[in-house]
Every structure is written in C-alpha cells, then in structure tokens.
C-alpha cells in the first residue's frame, strides 16, 4: 500500500474522479440496455434455430 499521497494524485483527483464516474455510468447504461432488450425478447431464438 502506498503510504504517501503524491502531489500528482491530488492535482488530478477531480479529473480522475470524473473519468471514473463516466466509465461507471457507461457500464450501468450498457448493462441496463442489455437487461431491457433481453427481457423484451430481442435476443430470443427463433423456433428454427432452436431445432438446429
């Protein structure tokens, strides 16, 4: 574990936090879209595909 906070980390804290939140939001949105589409049956297999 790093005991001492480097000045660079303090200086870029806001920027890193912002990028982190954007990436987190992107994951949540893509996950949410997947859930909606799966529940709606967008990825359901057609009967012909099931038989194969």
């Amino acid at each position: 574990m790093i005991g001492k906070q480097h000045e660079l980390h303090k200086r870029r804290f806001g920027r890193n936090m912002g990028v982190g939140l954007v990436l987190g939001a992107m994951i949540a949105i893509i996950f949410g879209m997947t859930i909606v589409k799966v529940n709606r049956g967008d990825f359901a297999m057609k009967p012909a595909e099931v038989q194969q």
């Binding site: 200086r11 806001g14 936090m17 912002g18 949105i29 879209m33 909606v36």
Partner: protein, 313 residues
C-alpha cells in the same frame, strides 16, 4: 528530466474534468437534448423509457462530439473572437490533439450505441449530422460563404428528426416540420448575435453576412427570415404535431418575434450604438425562448394526446 520538472510542468493551466466537458458545448447540448426528447416523445410509436433515455443521451453525446471537433478545427479563430477566447483550446487548457481524440472517440461511441439502443437508421442520421456539422459547416461553409449560418443551421435542426427516427425508424412529414422549424429559426438567431458581437467576426475573417453584405443587409435578412419562419411555425400548428395549445403559443411568440425583427430593421447603427444594441440583445434572448416554447408546446400536445386531448382530433 527530474521528478520535480514533470510535476510542475503545466500545473497552472492543467485541464480539469470541466474543461473536457466544456469541449462538448454544454449550452448547445441543452437545445439538442430538449429537441431530440420532443421529437422522440411526439412520435406515434412508444419507446421503452430506459431506451428512450439512452437514445436522447447518445444523441446529446453525438452533438457534443461534433462540438469538440468544431473547437479542434476552429481553434485559430476562437482565439481571435472575444466570445470564444475562453474556450478550452484557445485558453491553453486542452490541446487540439486531445480535442480531436475526444471528438472522434465520442462520435463513434454515440453512433454505435444509438444504433444498439434504438435502430441503425437513427444512428445513420446521427452520423450524418456529425459529418454535416464538422465537415460541411465547420471545415467548408463557415469560412467560405456568408450563407454559412443558413446552411449550417441544418446540423442543429437534425436532433428532433433523430429523436423521431429513434422511436419510429423512419422520417415523416412531422419530423421534417420540426427540422424546418429549427432550420428557419437559426439565421435570425445568429444574425442578431452577429449584430451585437460587432467586431468578433470581422477580426476572425469569418464571412458573416454582417461582414460581407453589411449590417443594413443583415437587418433586412433578419426580418425576411423571421416572416418566413412565422408562416412555417403557425402552419405547423395545423398539422398532427400541432393543436390549440401549440397554435396559441405560436401566434403570440411569432407576433413578438416579428415585432422584434421590425424594430431591428427600422434601426440604424447610430441608434444601436446609443443603447448598446439593447433591441438586438432582447431579440436574441427572445429567440431562445421562442424555440424552447415551440418545442415545449409540441411536447404538451404529445402529452395531451396520451389522454385523448392533444391535437385537433
């Protein structure tokens, strides 16, 4: 290079998250978000609320990406104009290469995700909008013709059409009308701005109408476009996106807008300089309310339609 030299370099003007966000032109984005949202809700095909939220978000990100690419290309003239000098690139906080990278990455990201959230037709329209704004308007028309604002205004007019396409997968008369409303609104809105930001465009050598044809001609153009816009905006009230609420708002706002345009037309430079362009500034502010109120009224009509009350039926 020592550790100290790495850490002190660029400390003063180092970009924060907000500077990167400013590349996306957040104020323009509010217009994009609102008009796309109205286009999506006014469409006759319902969309899952979460997918609708995602679609509007990706349209906004696409609009922001084109803003970043515009700032990358126009960094030289942004540095000259007072209105744009504090933008992230001319102020030295973000490098042009960073803006280019962010613009390209977000363009690809927004188009692909809109395709997945809604449909590929809407995604194609978004890709075309980004191309139109960046290549046709920013790189080509803006520095070449005084009609730059007229033709370039199409880029800002696409969002409601993309919102409609996200829900329906197609283009229709209603979405074209929403496009035309923003398209015809853009010239008087920007020419009023050009009148009171007097020397900005001259110094940047951007061929705005005020520079190439003079300020008198610009005042005439504002009046002509305002009259044409009024005809279109009121006529839209009798179509399926309109209704009594829309028509009432459109009539009042268009009368006020025409009154403002006539006031601008009747003035000369001496009058304007005496009161520091008060009439032109008032007209510009009214133009913002004008567009938001018209799209707000379309939204109200669409909302009322859910209860069997909207429109003329």
């Amino acid at each position: 290079m020592t550790d100290t030299s790495i850490n002190t370099k660029g400390y003063e003007g180092e970009a924060q998250f907000g500077d990167y966000f400013a590349l996306l032109k957040p104020r323009v984005m509010t217009l994009v978000v609102f008009t796309a949202f109205v286009g999506l809700l006014a469409a006759p095909v319902p969309m899952h609320p979460f997918l609708a939220f995602c679609a509007v978000l990706f349209i906004a990100v696409g609009g922001g990406a084109s803003g970043a690419l515009n700032m990358w290309w126009d960094a030289d003239i942004d540095a000259v104009m007072r209105r744009t000098q504090k933008r992230p690139i001319p102020s030295g906080k973000v490098t042009p290469d960073e803006a280019l990278a962010i613009g390209l990455a977000l363009s690809g990201f927004s188009v692909v995700l809109l395709g997945l959230a809604a449909n590929w037709f809407a995604a194609g329209l978004l890709a075309f909008t980004i191309f139109f704004y960046v290549v046709i308007y920013t790189m080509w028309l803006k520095r070449w013709t005084p009609q730059n604002i007229v033709i370039g205004g199409a880029a800002g007019a696409f969002p409601p059409m993309i919102g409609w396409a996200a829900a329906t997968g197609t283009v229709s008369v209603e979405s074209v009308l929403m496009f035309c409303l923003t398209f015809m609104w853009t010239p008087p809105h920007f020419w009023a701005l050009a009148l009171f930001m007097r020397n900005d465009y001259d110094e940047a050598k951007v061929p705005m109408l005020t520079v190439t044809h003079g300020r008198r001609a610009t005042r005439v153009h504002i009046l002509v476009y305002t009259l044409l816009l009024a005809v279109l905006a009121i006529a839209a009230g009798f179509t399926s996106i309109g209704g009594p609420v829309y028509l009432a708002i459109a009539v009042v706002l268009n009368l006020l807008f025409i009154k403002g345009a006539i006031a601008i037309w009747r003035r000369d430079e001496e009058d304007s300089e005496t009161d520091n362009f008060a009439v032109e500034r008032k007209f510009f502010k009214l133009s913002l309310i004008y567009l938001f109120a018209h799209f707000g009224a379309i939204l109200v009509e669409a909302g009322l339609a859910q209860f069997g009350m909207g429109g003329w039926s």
